[in-house]
Symmetry: C2
Subunit: 307 residues, 2 copies
DNA sequence: TTGTAGGCGTTATCAA
DNA sequence: TTGATAACGCCTACAA
């Protein structure tokens, strides 16, 4: 009986188009099946992909995503988090704004901080340090020794991790000798234009002193840097190898195709959602989960030319 | 008494951090203060900006946004719309997927279709036709006569509007004479790579026959076309003027800075939200609201060189 | 003006 | 297992 009845009820439910009311449901069960995500800027392709992946992951768990943009503005961010709290979302995925300082996040509401880790909160990020190291090691293996680095903004946590990855690789001893020469670093914002001027800066020296390869901390920087090299008449990859970081779609559309280190955005988003929904145990507070990056070969790297 | 009491209660409310429960609220009032937005692809900067602007506009009305991506897949799109319906959102902003055909949208739930207009639904879009005309007229005024056009995909509604704008401008009579020569059209997808090959196609002819200017139906196409010109050794804007369409942030970051026709995304998003919340009257079903585009000068246009 | 009761649509809980 | 009932938190309407 149960079986047949069950089927008949199910049939009639769809027939009548009945759908349970989420408000009533959530009022009784204390679960909203809603997840908030607060990011600095949706027009940044990295965050856009993060949101998109989170939406997919959430949908797989029967949840929906409320997006909010903080515009990297701490006050707006605080306001949005308050809104989400009052909405009684089941959890929040937060990429903190850069001028984030002393924001007190509501206790009792699960929060996962992504990408820009913060002490005291469960965090998920790509392993920027090892990721960059992968890319720089690729250049070292090709034979490059004068490898320039375009860094991110000084106070950005991921930027510093990337810088450390570069320094790790540059300092690694190879049979007792240092693998590479002294670091050549240019600090810049993560965007295209900053990458271009950083590239100009690194390349504006005599051929025997200028880097034969440059690692950029973002794909946008790398693309800007390609532009700079091009304008200086430096052929890529013949006279200059370039590697980027992030693995945004644009990277595969440049000419030549940019070699880059890809962050596993989709996996990170899925993990964040799973943690918030208790499908996966949250990382300990100051032990973020780090996701391995992957080096993607492209057409922008080659062995160095002799001076 | 009322006044003082009111103030004191207000004070205590904030002091205790009391916030009304939206579920209970919505259960009684039948209003969820939630708006759904379904777009084909969040990594497309145009849609990302649309979502971001919608979020801002919604926040100004005390509403929040649930985002969903259809990946241009009709089935997924239908599923997402069903989800939003069962969520009892107050309205849906929809950019239909391209393989959209016979989807029946739920009656009784306010829907505004944006950008890719559909007969039978309230629509909002940029006035692509006049926008393109603006850009092409700019080229005509500079003295160009052989103006190429990179079109969008054949079955895309906005692509066809843009094409008509180009034809409008090319056919306009100027003191009795046709202002321009026969149209030179290359069909392409809206992305970078397609723009590049379309550019190659248009520019692969003798100098006296090749266009002195090209209007591209998207900024990404325009950037790809710049690339093609560059690879062919054609200097921009000296030997070739280029104008794009959309006005995405990337357009102002190219070298030289791309001239483009900007869609008023923010205004369109605000209008869509306002209509859904009944702050603005919806357009009649087959009379979409068209928003004027704006021509943004750049460094990619100049008068044509003599042959 | 102030207070109270009822109901929105679920689901948890308790009784049978 | 099944069925009945109460309670979730807010809002509105009506009574005092």
């Amino acid at each position: 009986m149960t079986k047949e009845l069950r089927a008949r009820v199910g049939g009639i439910i769809t027939e009548l188009g009945y759908m349970p009311d989420p408000s009533a449901r959530s009022m009784r069960s204390k679960v909203s099946r809603l997840i908030g995500i607060v990011i600095p800027d949706l027009t940044n392709p990295f965050f856009a992909e993060l949101v998109q992946s989170a939406e997919q992951a959430a949908a797989n768990h029967g949840c929906n995503i409320i997006v909010m943009t903080s515009f990297d503005h701490a006050a707006k961010e605080a306001d949005r988090i308050r809104q989400l709290t009052s909405r009684k979302v089941d959890g929040i995925i937060l990429v903190p704004s850069n001028d984030f300082h002393t924001l007190k996040l509501p206790k009792g509401l699960p929060i996962v901080v992504v990408d820009r880790l913060m002490p005291g909160y469960s965090g998920i990020a790509a392993d920027h340090r090892r990721g960059v190291r992968l890319g720089v090691e690729h250049l070292l293996k090709l034979g490059h020794r004068r490898i320039g680095f375009i860094s991110g903004p000084k106070h950005s946590v991921p930027a510093n991790d990337r810088l450390r990855g570069y320094l790790d690789a540059m300092e690694q001893t190879d049979g007792g000798t240092r693998a590479a020469e002294a670091p050549l670093i240019a600090e810049a914002a993560f965007d295209y234009e900053s990458g271009r001027s950083a590239g100009n800066y690194l390349l504006a020296r005599a051929r025997s002193e200028r880097p034969t390869a440059i690692f950029a901390s973002s794909d946008q920087q790398a693309i800007g840097c390609m532009r700079a090299a091009h304008d200086l008449g430096i052929p890529i990859p013949a006279a200059l190898s370039i590697v980027g970081f992030d693995g945004i779609p644009l990277a595969s559309m440049t000419t030549p195709r940019l070699a880059t280190v890809k962050q596993p955005i989709e996996e990170m988003a899925a993990a964040a959602v799973a943690i918030l929904l208790n499908k996966q145990t949250a990382p300990e507070l100051d032990k973020p989960i780090l996701f391995a990056c992957e080096f993607l070969t492209g057409e922008t790297t080659a062995p160095p030319q002799p001076d």
